[in-house]
Subunit: 92 residues, 3 copies
């Protein structure tokens, strides 16, 4: 080794550990989604999930999201509503 | 303690700090979403957000996303458009 | 410096490196989305992406997502389907 005092060796240890951790985080961060379908005009995402979109029965494309996690289809007499629900976290 | 030279002690310090940081990142990474509703056939997400879906007035389910952040409803004479807008980051 | 034994110095090195890495991760984590449009009633996201919503021709707002990455429009004789597809990762 061309280097070095203990200072350099410690820096190398630290950098290697941090680099390895960043790489692990990079490979583990992911989005996870699930769909929830309910009868009627509302569908609620599971706890911890946020609604990214809604689908409605009767070909209806008019909807809104309430409180970040509840899909509400606006067409009259709607028969079903589904929520697309996602969250982000580290896997494993 | 059954161990150790200074080398072991330093490794332990590093591993503990890195583990704690990964745990902190894991608990802070999150998706945040908001909805933007506009009159007419277009709705634009706030800066930094990406559109994950669109909803349209008149029960219309035909839309496209332009430039990652603008919702465009395709049905003629559309009265309102809303964009579901999300981003990912570390909380706090 | 009012401190310190070598122990303090090593702790400072570790904390600085970890703090810098967390800051780098925070600035790099992001959601990336793309849209895929196909003729017919189905559209498939690219590998690694998850469908966050679907849009359909014929003004249809009734759809479902199959296997996390395939959009299926439910209205009869549908002419086109598009999938909004997203993933999360570290940039760069």
């Amino acid at each position: 080794q061309s280097c070095c005092g203990i200072d350099n060796l410690i820096d190398q240890k630290i950098q290697a550990a941090v680099k390895s951790a960043v790489s692990a985080v990079s490979s583990k961060v992911q989005m996870t989604c699930t769909s929830v379908k309910s009868g009627g005009a509302n569908a609620r995402c599971p706890s911890g999930y946020i609604a990214t979109s809604c689908a409605c029965g009767m070909a209806c494309g008019s909807w809104d999201i309430r409180g970040d996690s509840i899909c509400h289809c606006q067409c009259g007499g709607i028969d079903w509503t589904s929520a697309r629900c996602c969250k982000v976290g580290l896997r494993g």
